[in-house]
């Protein structure tokens, strides 16, 4: 995998007044990679994308695209094209005029433009709509026109700034599949900004989590989902059961974490930890076994917590139990079959397998 880098971002800093939008961000995006910048709004991901595209001039740091430094180039002279948030089409031009406008500016022969526009419309699935005006198109179609308008310039990188945020949920899912297919077809790098983790997971080859102007974590969707190294990432991708604690003891196979004077043992998954270090633990709600406490089995082991059910919700495919622990922390448990004898206010024991707990750096 000796892929060359399409984009190299080094030490990028951007401030607005005394607020940091980007703090020393480094980023490498490989050729032909579908890269997603994921993070909460106002976290700096759009600023990063716009710095790559040349719409924002960073305070310091550098951006290289295809090995060439582009810091001093305006957007149109960078080998990037941009798909904007919302429906950013020229309202007075029809579909084919919108798509072909970038080529028209380069005074390319009319017939050549027409050919390319037609090919591009087939590629993005707009066949037969060439004479429609933007206001006669659906949201999804408008975004396809934007894609075509950007891709027709055959630049090395396509930047997408929340391209699907204005679409409804179902359409967004369909467009994700389309985007991924399109990227495989054209083979260039896509850099896609979104705050929607589902969207990110479904399109990305790699994801970078960005928050507070900093690169929190990078990895494949699988790594980010099933083994987030960072507490913020775990929270952001929707983990509900997060515990804060300190490392009490560890050896090659196990780590013992002290959480409010309860010891929790977890499997040591090559974690780099020190004694007394502050860490967080998380566990997926479907990995917890919930059982009614009877008076006879009241022994509490290391891999068990006791709590009270505060709420039972039937959610179609599964049942969700909210359990309140002795320290008032709330835990979500997801069970795919309803456990008959459990009722609200029942005292229950929660247990899990050692390897189901994940450890995150704070």
């Amino acid at each position: 995998m000796a892929k060359t880098n399409a984009i190299e971002v080094k030490n990028l800093v951007k401030t607005y007044g005394n607020v940091y939008a980007l703090k020393n961000v480094d980023l490498n995006i490989a050729d032909g990679e579908y890269f997603v910048l994921l993070g909460p709004s106002g976290g700096g991901k759009t600023t990063l994308l716009r710095s790559i595209g040349g719409f924002i001039r960073p305070d310091s740091g550098s951006v290289n695209i295809k090995g060439q430094n582009v810091d001093d180039l305006p957007p149109d002279r960078r080998p990037t094209s941009m798909v904007f948030q919302g429906f950013a089409l020229f309202p007075h031009m029809n579909v084919s005029q919108n798509i072909g406008y970038g080529l028209k500016l380069k005074s390319i022969d009319k017939n050549v433009i027409e050919n390319k526009v037609n090919k591009m419309m087939d590629l993005v699935g707009l066949k037969g709509l060439s004479n429609r005006m933007p206001h006669e198109l659906s949201g999804g179609q408008q975004q396809r026109v934007q894609l075509a308008r950007a891709l027709i310039l055959e630049n090395d990188v396509l930047l997408l700034d929340e391209p699907l945020s204005a679409l409804d949920a179902q359409l967004r899912k369909d467009m994700c599949i389309e985007l991924k297919r399109l990227q495989k077809t054209v083979g260039i790098s896509f850099v896609h900004v979104t705050h929607n983790q589902e969207e990110a997971m479904s399109v990305a080859d790699r994801i970078a989590i960005i928050a507070d102007g900093e690169m929190v974590e990078q990895g494949t969707p699988k790594e980010i989902y099933s083994n987030p190294k960072n507490k913020f990432t775990a929270e952001f991708i929707g983990e509900k059961n997060i515990f804060e604690g300190r490392i009490k003891d560890f050896n090659k196979t196990k780590v013992v974490v002290d959480i409010d004077n309860d010891n929790i043992e977890i499997a040591n998954n090559n974690y780099k930890v020190e004694k007394n270090q502050k860490v967080s633990l998380s566990i997926k709600s479907e990995s917890i076994q919930i059982k009614k406490m009877s008076k006879t089995n009241s022994k509490v082991s290391n891999n068990q917590i006791v709590g009270k059910i505060s709420e039972i919700t039937f959610l179609g495919q599964f049942v969700r139990y909210l359990v309140v622990l002795n320290n008032n922390q709330e835990i979500q448990v997801r069970s795919y079959e309803e456990i008959v004898n459990l009722k609200v206010h029942d005292t229950v024991s929660l247990s899990w397998k050692l390897e189901d707990f994940l450890l995150h750096q704070n």
Binding site: F55, F90, L105
Partner: protein
Amino acid sequence: MIIFFVLPLLLTVVWSVFERTMFWMEPGFTLFSYENFFFSSRLENFLSSMFHSSISVICAFFIGFPIAIFIRRRVKKVAQHRVMLLFILPFMVSEIIRIFALRPILSRNGVLNSLLMDFNFIDTPISAFVFTPTGVVIGEIVSFLPFMIFSTFLALEAIPNYIFEVCADLGVNRRRMFKDILLPLAAPGLFAGSVFIFVNGIGIALIPTILGGPGSVNAGLIATQAIIALDFPLAMAVSAIMMFTLMGLLYIGHRLFNLTKLLEPIS
């Protein structure tokens, strides 16, 4: 709508075919007033005032549109409306005074001539600035320029910012930006401003009265003079002709630009 708009217009047309009496008019049907208009120097005056108005419109376009573009593109968003307010300030002064004030500026030994001579642009003062059609055109531009700026700014303001970002991404140069983006998107505003200036140019009697010479008589002045001469049907006929000219223009504009679009961003 009907009471304040349609009824007066209808009455104008009805009265224009009434017979003239010594001090008023009496019901009847005669096209004498229209004959009186079309077969006299009045028609010539009307046509030349249309010509002068057109020049005012063109000048207002070349001065006003760039100002509107500048405000939209270069002035900070928060300050844009404050800058537009500056153009309303002159309207705090009565129109007569505003136009009258142009006389000492434009006259033979007025401010403009002395400035031009001080900077050695001319050797002898130009007397054509006032009491000529040129004077009328200058007066019209000074009075009506804000309307061109308002209406085009309104149209430009409705252009979302992303359009300019897309242009930056595609590499649209200034000439292309003007021709392909700003001009077509501001067209409804340009048309509205132009019609306003054109209609006022042929309709407002004040400007040719104060700044015009013997040759510069517009429709408004013809009507005013007719009223002074107690020829009410003629005044009505002139008004009706102006009205039909305006309606024709608006119809053309509506077919070309769909004027309702202009008012969309406001609501």
